[in-house]
């Protein structure tokens, strides 16, 4: 509305000009931003003259002009506005932020390019989108936003590492995680947990998403080649917020909400159900016609008789059927989430700053786990001289996570309790306190007591400092320097109490460790941009980069505490252990970047990077990588003038990137000196070594187009890519008779190809009402094309020995490989599998059935997102859906809770699904008969527990209200936004049999980790 008024006003002014004579006058006025905040430092120039002025701190200016002259108001980041001087001497101007310009600059890490100068495949997400997601680490916000990027929540414990795959899996055994670049500098992002058994801790969780300005995901070689060595798995470029000149603007944001498990339908047997099955299973073993002989067991006497025979422990006969609801007790219903950030930004013509403090406290949906972060960020830019720019930023945070023992089937893992706790156990004593000193039945710990009385804490202190100094030595020749230091100091403490749990029999124990990870990067180089003639635009960069990474680790352990309340090694008295270690790696690179365009129509991009890595042996350390890319901005051609296309770009790129993600010192044949025997230290051969080890290479071809039609109301892009990874770094299995399990070798080839499409449409686009829908879709088709060859000339399966998977030529890497389920025999009640693994004859002898490949692996072959956003005046509503599929996932712990014998019915507990067991001939069911003393291998690896991974998830729904600025100003603020948001509100899974959350770790196993969470938050954003 306001905009339209301005338009009318301008029109009137134009009329006025025609009616008046030129006349000198002093024009004054104030320049403000859209929110009415004064803008200092705005250039006000009388067009065609040298006359001009700059606005002062209050945004005021004074300039001499004559009627009919045009005042040009310009300021970085805002749309330049022209106002013709009329009769009036006061001209107040409101500058609009140049949203287009912000969008259209792509931050590529080493460089920033206009969107039309880019030849590679990349997607940039704005800071608002990231800040709004109520997750503790920024990578989680990417899910569904970028075609070809798959994020899965490997654990819902706050702070846990996420699995991210860009365009599938490019490597067999070297890493598949993308490279993270923060403010132009590559950082390491390895799990900082103090123990491999507990919840992981993602270093990205140390960064407050409110401090992020944008994230760019680089996908193809043209975009990633600059990162040469480590670009093969894609690059995630994170840019943090910088200061903005003007009066200091304060922003306060808060998000408060509650979380629960998003999707979990896997129930366990109640005590009464288990009792019923137990009796039945005993009779099937020891009753009349029992498989183990008739010992007189009947439904009536089975339990007491089994106790008498020593088959069941004493006391079982006294269980009265009470339901103790263990799986409910380990839940933390409506786990609280709080996130507060207070920031300020401002500055003058020469300097600007951004400062923020943030606090995040997020409970987990399970007892015992929690997350807390306090962080401060400060960024400062200063124009030191006309030709010298200096900027520095510092991000310091302290993150405390209380991890749980969720990375395996540990007795104290709360999720083991959920699925396997013998339900006959009463969790509480007569006074209502959790019992200690061992539960009556079974070996699981009373998790309630353990989580209350143990201390598990991972504390990560991260300081990331980034300083940049640009000196324009000669016109357009800039000497660039970036210096970055990243300290990640992790302090881990795990005290286990004296009465219940893992350290009950050692009278309490303490593990403490300390890891210091230090990453240093220096980048220095020259950038020169110049024009030849009118239309030849060049931008050339030569850069040197040095990276040093060091890790120091110190560990101590002791047990046997003399009294309660003592939790440090100082008070322990026995079995002391200590350990320390050091490791390092280095990277050196020389980088050349060339960007050329002809009149903005034809773009050529070339990158070359020579990189050396300490991970390889002498002679094999350096590799050369590079790419060429080209784009044609068709819409800039004369013949396109007047066409429906506002944008039409065709682009193609080709390049070679590398991967060095093998173990440190992997090339050397090593003796390790960790052995200890009879109080003496010793040596063992620990690594076979391979002096020839070198870079894994990835060759990517990428072609695509981008378009915008109908005033860019409909925009979209499409890309096809084909990436061939060769000289695969793989851990080739060795004959174990060598004393080694494997050797790292450069062998084999794999391809990933697919398409990526994005489409957005503004259904309605008016000042008051807008409605936009968008979607993205990507496919990836992975195939292994070459492997190492064994003694007999046949390929060696790198996954030899795996119970679940195989890697073979012609199949996707890590294809599921197991026996094929053929149902329960309706006559005998025994499980059956196909003898040949495919069809036809079936057998109840598990070992007689053949293992066959199941055609697909664990990585989704398609994924995408759909979103819509609707805005009416101050109100807005949005929704996002994420989907993926085409893969299968394996329910790994079915091997425990779906046993049909003493394991589930005598010692632990089983899934509620066991109630569907076969009981008599003719029963058609998917669960065999229960038999206490037999192992029918129903639980063993087969397609019975392999499920289609396809799912659709309502990832994000939000409604909100932006207070109009006039109202806001009346209450002394410049803006207020309220948002009610829900994440993971609904989930649809394709496979009815899949009862656990379909988001698994990238390798496709459902695990005993905290499931992804459903969240409701209320967000408030106040600007003043």
């Amino acid at each position: 509305m306001k905009k339209r008024l301005n338009g009318i006003l301008t029109l009137l002014l134009v009329l006025a000009v025609q009616l008046t004579f030129a006349q000198n006058l002093q024009v004054t006025g104030a320049v403000t931003d859209a929110d009415g905040m004064p803008l200092p430092g705005v250039n006000v120039i009388v067009r065609g003259t040298n006359t001009g002025a700059t606005t002062d701190f209050d945004g005021n200016y004074t300039v001499n002009a004559t009627q009919g002259q045009v005042l040009v108001f310009s300021f970085v980041g805002y749309v330049t506005q022209n106002v013709t001087v009329g009769a009036q001497s006061v001209i107040n101007v409101s500058l609009q932020e140049d949203a287009a310009q912000l969008d259209e600059v792509i931050v590529l890490g080493y460089s920033t390019r206009g969107v039309e100068e880019v030849t590679g495949s990349s997607v940039q997400i704005g800071g608002e989108d990231i800040a709004e997601a109520p997750m503790v680490s920024v990578d989680q916000a990417l899910q569904g936003k970028v075609a070809g990027l798959q994020v899965t929540t490997s654990s819902g414990t706050p702070g846990s590492a996420q699995d991210i795959r860009i365009r599938g899996q490019s490597s067999l055994t070297a890493g598949n995680e993308p490279l993270y670049v923060i403010d132009g500098v590559p950082v390491t992002n390895s799990n900082q947990a103090g123990s491999a058994n507990v919840s992981s801790l993602n270093p990205l969780a140390a960064i407050n998403s409110q401090d992020i300005a944008s994230i760019t995901v680089l996908k193809d070689a043209s975009a990633t080649a600059a990162y040469g060595a480590r670009g093969s798995n894609g690059v995630i470029v994170v840019t943090t917020k910088r200061g903005r000149s003007g009066d200091t603007q304060f922003t306060f944001t808060s998000q408060v909400g509650v979380q629960n498990d998003a999707y979990n339908k896997r129930d366990v047997l109640t005590g009464a159900q288990r009792l019923e099955l137990l009796g039945e299973a005993l009779v099937n073993s020891y009753g009349a016609n029992g498989t183990n002989g008739d010992f007189g067991f009947t439904t009536e006497n089975a339990i007491p008789l089994a106790v008498q025979f020593g088959v069941l422990p004493q006391g079982t006969q006294n269980y009265d059927g009470t339901d103790y609801n263990w799986s409910g007790l380990i839940k933390n219903e409506d786990a609280l989430l709080q996130n507060y950030t207070f920031s300020a930004t401002g500055g003058d013509e020469l300097s600007s700053f951004y400062a923020s403090v943030g606090y995040n406290e997020t409970e987990a949906t399970v007892i015992g786990a929690a997350f807390e972060r306090i962080n401060g960020a400060f960024s400062f830019n200063r124009k030191m001289r006309d030709n010298m720019d200096f900027s520095t930023s510092l991000n310091v945070s302290n993150t405390t996570q209380n991890p749980i023992l969720e990375q395996g089937s540990f007795f104290s893992n709360p999720f083991i309790t959920r699925y396997l706790m013998n339900p006959f156990n009463n969790p509480f004593d007569a006074d209502g306190n959790p019992t200690r000193g061992g539960l009556q039945f079974g070996s699981l710990h009373n998790t309630l007591y353990v989580t209350e009385n143990n201390i598990a804490r991972t504390m990560l202190t991260r300081a990331l400092s980034n300083t940049r100094f640009d000196w324009e030595l000669f016109e357009n020749l800039t000497f660039r320097n970036t210096f970055s230091v990243d300290w990640q100091i992790t302090d881990y403490k795990n005290y286990q109490n004296r009465y219940e749990g893992d350290s009950r029999f050692v009278n309490g124990s303490i593990t403490a460790s300390d890891n210091k990870a230090f990453n240093l990067v220096y980048q220095g180089g020259l950038n020169y941009n110049f024009k030849l003639g009118q239309d030849h635009n060049f931008d050339v960069t030569g850069l040197f980069e040095y990276q040093k990474n060091q890790n120091q680790y110190l560990f101590g352990y002791g047990n046997n505490f003399p009294a309660d309340g003592l939790t440090n090694i100082a008070s322990a008295s026995a079995e002391f252990e200590a350990f320390s270690s050091f490791s390092d790696w280095y990277n050196v690179s020389y980088l050349g970047l060339l960007n050329y365009n002809f009149a903005g129509k034809y773009v050529l991009d070339a990158t070359i990077r020579r990189e050396g890595s300490s991970r390889f042996g002498p002679g094999n350390r350096f590799g050369t990588f590079g790419s060429v890319g080209t784009a044609w901005n068709v819409h800039r051609e004369d013949f396109m003038r007047g066409s429906v296309f506002n944008t039409l770009r065709l682009r193609a790129s080709y390049g070679i990137t590398g991967n060095n993600a093998v173990g440190l010192n992997a090339y050397q044949a090593l003796l390790g000196y960790g052995a200890d025997y009879s109080n003496n230290g010793g040596a063992t051969p620990t690594q076979f070594g391979n002096a020839d080890l070198t870079w894994e290479k990835g060759e990517t071809f990428d072609v695509g187009f981008t378009f915008g039609v109908f005033e860019n109301r409909l925009t979209g892009s499409f890309a096809y890519y084909n990436r061939r990874t060769y000289d695969l770094l793989q851990s080739v299995p060795l004959s174990r008779t060598t004393g080694f399990a494997n050797q790292d070798q450069n062998l084999g080839e794999m391809t990933n190809k697919g398409i990526e499409a994005e489409l957005a449409f503004d259904l309605v686009r008016t000042a008051d009402f807008s409605w936009n829908v968008s979607g993205n879709y990507a496919t990836v088709d992975n195939e292994v094309t070459k492997l190492a060859v064994g003694a007999d000339g046949n390929d060696i399966d790198p996954l030899a020995g795996s119970v679940y998977k195989t890697t073979q030529v012609g199949l996707p890497a890590g294809t599921w490989f197991m026996r094929t389920w053929a149902g329960v025999d309706a006559q005998t009640g025994l499980p059956t599998w196909f003898v040949n693994g495919r069809d036809g004859e079936v057998t109840s002898n598990y070992n007689a059935a053949e293992r066959v490949d199941q055609g697909v692996g664990a990585l989704p072959s398609y994924s995408g997102g759909l979103g819509t956003r609707l805005q009416f005046k101050g109100f807005f509503a949005e929704a996002d859906v994420y989907f993926q599929g085409g893969h299968k996932i394996y329910e790994q712990f079915a091997q425990f809770y779906l046993r049909t014998n003493s394991f589930t019915l005598g010692t632990y507990n089983g899934g509620a699904e066991l109630m569907d067991r076969w009981q008599q001939p003719g029963d058609v069911t998917n669960v065999p008969r229960v038999n206490y003393a037999r192992n029918d291998n129903f639980h063993a690896t087969s397609t019975r527990h392999l499920y289609d991974g396809d799912f659709v998830r309502l990832r994000n729904v939000a409604v909100g209200y932006n207070l109009p600025s006039t109202f806001a100003q009346s209450i002394g603020i410049t803006g207020l936004t309220l948002t009610l948001r829900g994440t993971n509100l609904a989930t649809w899974v394709k496979d009815d049999g899949l009862l656990l959350d379909p988001e698994t770790q990238a390798i496709g196993y459902t695990t005993l980790t905290t499931p992804p969470v459903e969240t409701y938050t209320l967000g408030i954003n106040v600007k003043f």
Binding site: L473, P685, T737
Partner: protein, 474 residues
């Protein structure tokens, strides 16, 4: 002037960056390891390697637990109560090629062999020759014992026939480290494995000197080299060789049978008089919760329980028999088997101590050698077999035998060596079935010759090494 500075800067920068970093600057630090090629030069280095080999032997994947437990849960001595889901499929004798233990046992034993082979193959070592030879001799003996342990479990000698078959397929006998010409060895026959082991032991005996024997018994000694030979010969029914080797050990006069009073306490002490070779556990180096004490005794694990059938073979008063016992601080068990209040029978006398799990693990006890000697005397028609046999019950509070028969030797071996991993092999080498004796047993009897008298070759081996064929039935 300013311009000159800029040019100078550019020049220094250019020269600096493009010359400063060479491959040498990319040399990673080796902080915890050393290069194999350059680090084996002295007797001290060989000693370190030997300690490494022993450390590997002490792993819970080998003598630290698994090889001992397998010999028990396969037999009529013990079973698994699945308390922590350990040794369940093992007690069912239902392993397959993907079973974890098939792979960990195989890999761990071959890793001991790899360590031994580095020592054996080391050349140009500086130091006292006799001492170098003593270390090398130990490596030969370890290599023999390790291959014997492999063939006992993975060889096909007890499958498909009615008695031990020497020409059956055994395991690869590996004699060189990182031998690029033989990275994928094929399986030797059982007889070849046996004969290579004999040869290695003879080499060990010739290289080692009794004066250099480590008194702790935590390393191979000259006596242990003969004791191992006696055990191997006994297994393969080579009784004359067993007789000679056992007699050499007996004649050394270094060892004696534990008395009734010291039998249990010897399991809590180091280097007892009845110990010939034992695996060291120390407060800082022990398998901890993954060790023998934790798997046998009540606690977090405690999966392996004794069968009532075993407890029933002992007379009242036999220190190896069963009495009521519940673990209480300061109260020691009075017999090997303890019966808990709920009736569960457990081994509480051997490898007795849980935290800090520091009891040594006897690998060869003098009593075993005495029984091998008695058996060899019976088989070779020698005199005094009964005297030697009765030496054991006489020191255990049990009545004496009136007759020296193989059956009595086997019965006494079951009594004396229960929980120490011998029973399955005794059944196998004498062609006996594994009987179903108790309701809580997880299998219902396995006849001699069945496929599961041998472990499967792990798929991590057969899928990689095309020269190795899978065992029958897997």
């Amino acid at each position: 002037m300013k311009r000159t500075i800029k040019y100078l800067l550019l020049f220094v920068l250019g020269v600096g960056t493009f010359t400063s970093c060479s491959e040498d600057d990319l040399e990673p630090t080796l902080a915890q390891s050393k290069s194999i090629e350059t680090s084996i030069n002295s007797l001290n280095d060989l000693d370190a390697l030997l300690i490494g080999a022993m450390e590997r032997m002490s792993s819970s994947a080998y003598y630290g637990r698994d090889i001992i437990i397998l010999g028990e849960v396969f037999s009529d001595n013990t079973t698994s109560n699945a308390n922590s889901n350990r040794f369940v499929v093992e007690a069912q004798m239902d392993l397959n090629a993907q079973s974890g233990i098939a792979s960990t046992l195989w890999s761990q034993i071959y890793s001991v062999i790899a360590s031994a082979n580095i020592i054996i193959g080391a050349e140009g070592i500086s130091g006292d020759e006799a001492r170098i030879n003593h270390v090398k001799g130990q490596a030969y003996a370890l290599r023999a014992l390790a291959h014997f342990d492999l063939v006992k479990f993975y060889g096909q000698q007890n499958v498909g026939g009615s008695s031990l078959n020497l020409s059956a397929v055994g395991v690869p006998y590996v004699t060189a480290f990182r031998d690029n010409d033989n990275l994928f060895p094929s399986r030797n026959t059982v007889q070849e494995v046996r004969d290579f082991a004999y040869a290695d032991l003879e080499m060990a005996q010739s290289l080692m000197s009794a004066s250099l024997n480590n008194p702790s018994k935590e390393f191979i000694t000259t006596h242990a080299a003969y004791a191992i030979e006696a055990r191997i010969a006994n297994y393969f029914g080579d009784h004359p060789r067993a007789l000679t080797a056992a007699k050499t050990v007996i004649d050394s006069g270094v060892f004696s049978v534990a008395s009734e009073g010291s039998f249990l306490s010897n399991f809590r002490s180091r280097g007892a008089a009845n110990s010939i070779f034992e695996i060291a556990n120390t407060p800082t180096d022990n398998p901890g919760i993954n060790g023998l004490a934790n798997i046998y005794q009540v606690g977090s694990y405690g999966d392996v329980v004794a069968l009532p059938n075993l407890a029933a073979i002992y007379e009242d008063g036999d220190v190896r028999g069963a009495t009521l016992y519940s673990p209480t601080a300061g109260v020691l068990p009075t017999t090997v088997i303890g019966e808990s209040a709920n009736g569960t029978l457990r081994n509480v006398g051997k490898y007795p101590r849980t935290a800090p799990f520091e009891d040594n693990i006897p690998v060869i006890r003098y009593e075993e050698i005495v029984l091998i000697y008695a058996e060899a005397l019976i088989e070779t028609g020698g005199a005094d077999a009964l005297t030697w046999l009765n030496l054991i019950p006489a020191n255990r509070g049990a009545s004496l035998y009136t007759e020296a028969t193989i059956a009595n030797v086997l019965l006494e071996r079951r009594k004396e060596l229960a929980f120490e991993g011998f029973r399955f092999h005794d059944l196998a080498r004498t062609g006996m079935d594994i009987e179903s004796v108790d309701l809580i047993q997880l299998h219902t009897g396995v006849d001699y010759g069945a496929y599961n008298f041998a472990l499967p070759i792990p798929s991590s081996e057969v899928d990689v090494n095309a020269n190795i064929n899978q065992n029958t039935g897997y």
